[in-house]
Point group: C2
Chain length 232, copies 2
């Protein structure tokens, strides 16, 4: 049964392991055993970041490194990885401890994202970098192709405002709630409130504008969690 | 002359470029021209982080991912990269704008570190991942071999105390200078002062201990900048 199950997963990944124990380790959460996927996740994060960096570099010759970096962050953030993992039905194959099993650990985004990265690391060890890169590209090709830099690179305040406008919601209000120190060591704390949705967040920054952007980003994060289906 | 010069660099790197323009771009600072090394640095950072991650993973089977991550950070931080770049005499090959040339840009750690990463990225594009990985391993092999995890993984407070004790200096003093909010959203600001050396730093954290560690790390950073020859 287990063998059949991972065969299905390997088919979805487009990669067959020589060393089955590596796959098993990549699927094992720390709640299950001390031989788990945490170390594999560390190198998997490496091959994932490198692969996505190169793919974006080649696809967007006009973007600078800061823009490429932000695009990459949007592709490899936990939520995006969990979506890729869910499409592979990765949760069905995980080895979890009792507690995690009972509390729905196989659907938890952090657990799914970590296991996916661990699989990329395991493929690197098992078949070499090129195999891991190829697997990542198969899984991310479509997402990379669909990225619209003009949307993805919007600053958080603009993004939040447009999201709310598109849904005919009240626009956010920003207030400086604290200001300390002297320039250039000033600290601003700003509150961002979306009255209609009863969402707010506070954030600090070295300038009012920086604190506002950071607070807007936090509000967007809350919106994403509350309305997971809606693209931001 | 230029051709001879980069030949010497390629010998030091152990890699010869098929596409000489890639090497030239990797050596070009943004102050010199719009076709510069910033985008190459982005992918170079990717191959460097992945390669060092895998090397540490293989060398230290007993370390967990947090420890591996801290070891990697110590190897790829700007100062360490600038040292590797200096050993290659990379500064001699850089294309800098007038201003940077006059102000000693070819010795600036950030410029050297960025150019080194850009070279790793250029090799990846020119000869494939394995060539870039091999070049990185040639340059970092010795440093990786010399890492002593029990030293490198010390927390900043312990590290700072031992550094000062070994030099018969006064020990640091920590003071809470600000405390705000209610648990679990408390913020502590701590000052760390080394009286004898007239060095101090403030840092914030969610607990007194976290703020102390962070302040100690900043003091160590200042010590490193002031006494660059001494290993911390």
């Amino acid at each position: 049964m287990v063998i059949l199950a991972t065969e299905r997963l390997c088919k979805a990944l487009g990669y067959s392991f020589s060393e089955q124990t590596l796959l098993r380790q990549a699927l094992t959460h720390r709640s299950h055993s001390s031989t788990n996927n945490e170390r594999l996740e560390f190198i998997g994060d490496g091959v994932l970041n490198a692969t996505i960096a190169r793919a974006l570099f080649l696809q967007f010759p006009q973007l600078n490194e800061g823009e490429l970096s932000r695009l990459r962050a949007s592709l490899v953030r936990q939520e995006a990885l969990a979506e890729v993992a869910s499409a592979l039905q990765l949760g069905d194959y995980l080895f979890l401890g009792e507690g995690e099993l009972k509390s729905g650990g196989h659907r938890r985004p952090s657990i799914l994202a970590d296991a996916l990265e661990a699989i990329f690391g395991a493929i690197w060890l098992d078949g070499g970098f090129a195999q891991s890169e190829a697997t990542i590209m198969r899984l991310f090709h479509e997402r990379i192709g669909q990225i619209d830099p003009s949307q993805a690179l919007k600053d958080p305040k603009t993004g939040l405002q447009e999201w709310l406008q598109a849904r005919k919601q009240q626009l956010p209000e920003y207030k400086v709630v604290r200001q300390e120190g002297e320039s250039p060591n000033q600290v601003f704390e700003v509150a961002c409130e979306v009255g209609g949705l009863q969402i707010s967040a506070n954030a600090e920054g070295p300038s009012r504008r920086a604190a506002e952007q950071s607070a807007a980003a936090q509000v967007m994060q809350q919106l994403k969690e509350r309305y997971p289906g809606k693209r931001l």
